[in-house]
Amino acid sequence: MGGEQMLRVTNVTKKFGALTAVNNLSFEVRQGQVFGIAGPNGAGKSTVYNLITGLYDFKGTISFKDQDISGLPPHRIAKLGIARTFQIPQTFPSLTVEKSIEVGSYFGSRKGFDQNHVDQVLTFVNLSDMRGAPTGSLNLLQKKMLMIGAALATRPEILMLDEPMAGSNAKEIIQLMDLIRRINQDLGITIILIEHFMKVLTELTETLLILETGTEICCGDPQKVTSDPRVIECYLGDCDD
């Protein structure tokens, strides 16, 4: 299952005042995997992303390819090869679609700016025809594609997607699932995926981590995890999936 160890989270804790958002969490992601994270709202999933990408400080250790990245600022982590998207699509309304992709290539890529790569990314996320358009004119799906495209322009080794299916209809979900598969299989990029749709997680991921109130309650094969009584009780019990 998967290749060499890529990302290791060890005994990580994050507190916001009296609230413990992430509690002594440990897991590892292997090269080439699609690693899923799920859990009810407020479980600490997005906080884990914010810790890995350096947006919050924390207790514990996070290492990427055996290099300790704890305490590094987000732009340094991006340059090392970890890219992410956000649950609420983040775009740059002052920039065009192409310029937004260029941000990732110019600032985040270890190989430096490459116009050919920007063109390839625009084609990959199906936004070539919109390259000159202001990002404010895009619909929700296109904004998600743009966010993924900008992240891909950094030439990441790990791409962390935060609820990419949120707010999407069935057709869009199929498109996004296809895109995630292509990123993983065609580009060879390891993916960490936060998602609420269990069907998406069981179809795409090889390992699934379930969180509740910042604590791991189960981690392993998605089919086994989803049938675990603790998971059903805390998460799936409220879900129709």
Partner: protein, 323 residues
């Protein structure tokens, strides 16, 4: 607005401004106003760069201008440095202070940055008037009354004959506007806009907020401080009255009229605001009220300023041509 249109607009503005002395060169009063327009156009453009493009609500622009003015005047007087070099040293000093002010602002957002930078503005007056200021040579409450005039290669610029200084300021303003244009259209400008729109996403794509925010503080405070120096050596006297609310409000009006984040709107805004301000002078105490009313109307009618109006008209025209 794309690079070509901004370059065209800048070329048009500076060409029109360059020929104005042909019509008004004999009237020192008008030439004095035009020199002020050139100075404020650069200061307002710097403010627009940091606030409109980089999204940093810095309210310290007037303070940096006054610091640069005093620094240049004191350096040229106490160290016998020619004013043409003193203005650049003053720019360097204000850039260093700009970085010092910028450092705590990196941890802050929005209104808190405005408060910190405005605090610098508030602190400056008592510092310049007090014992520290007097020890540095600010002249305390009296200010500086005999500042060495600008001289280059033996030629001394005087207020009695303002046309040469107008062209010197025009050259400086053109160079500053080119620097600002290059910055806006370079990866610096892209980083500023990305950080303004979504700092979290921008940093996660590799943009260093620390580096680019400090750079914009350093650049804008350098150019603003340098313009303060040119102002000091032109008017020949300085006092802390410049730190009053008038200049601050004038710069704000310039930005509103030109369009925030709409370079070169600040340059157009400077000429309109200063000219209208002078034309309204017969109204006496009703002038600020009239200016205030104009600003309110302009904000409602032209929320993106004059350049925003140009953009809308141009995009409509282009849209019409494609259909």
């Amino acid at each position: 607005m794309d690079h070509k249109r901004i370059t065209f607009l800048l070329a048009l503005i500076w060409t029109i401004v360059a020929v104005l002395p042909l019509f008004f060169g004999g009237t020192n009063f008008i030439m004095h106003i035009l020199i002020m327009c050139l100075i404020w156009s650069v200061v307002a453009s710097c403010w627009d760069l940091i606030m409109g493009f980089a999204g940093i609500f810095s309210f310290g622009q007037v303070a940096f201008f006054v610091m640069g003015a005093y620094a240049s005047a004191i350096i040229s007087a106490q160290f016998s440095i020619p004013p043409i070099f003193a203005v650049f040293v003053a720019g360097g000093i204000t850039a260093a202070i700009g970085i010092l002010v910028g450092l705590p602002c990196l941890k802050l957002k929005g209104a808190y940055i405005a408060l910190v930078t405005f605090a610098v503005h508030m602190i400056l007056e008592p510092v310049l008037k007090g014992d520290i200021g007097r020890a540095m040579g600010t002249g305390g409450s009296r200010g500086l009354l005999t500042i060495e005039p600008m001289h280059i290669f033996g030629y001394t610029f005087t207020t009695a004959s303002p046309v040469p200084y107008f062209y010197l300021m025009l050259l400086v303003a053109v160079l500053c506007s080119v620097i600002i244009l290059v910055v806006i259209k370079s990866h610096w400008g892209t980083a500023f806009l990305a950080l303004k729109d979504s700092q979290e996403f921008a940093t996660c794509l590799g943009v260093s907020a620390f580096k680019y925010k400090l750079r914009v503080f350093a650049l804008t405070s350098f150019l603003t401080g340098m313009m303060g120096g040119f102002y000091a050596h032109y008017v020949g006297m300085l006092s802390t009255r410049m730190l009053g609310i008038d200049l601050f409000v004038t710069l704000m009006v310039i930005l509103v009229i030109g369009g925030v984040g709409k370079f070169p709107g600040a340059i157009i805004g400077a000429f309109i605001t200063i000219a209208v301000n002078e034309l309204l002078s017969p109204l006496g105490p009703y002038r600020p009220i009239t200016m205030g009313a104009m600003v309110v109307i302009l904000v409602l009618v032209l929320p993106d300023g004059i350049v925003g109006l140009f953009e809308r008209l141009f995009s409509k025209k282009q849209h019409g041509m494609t259909h």
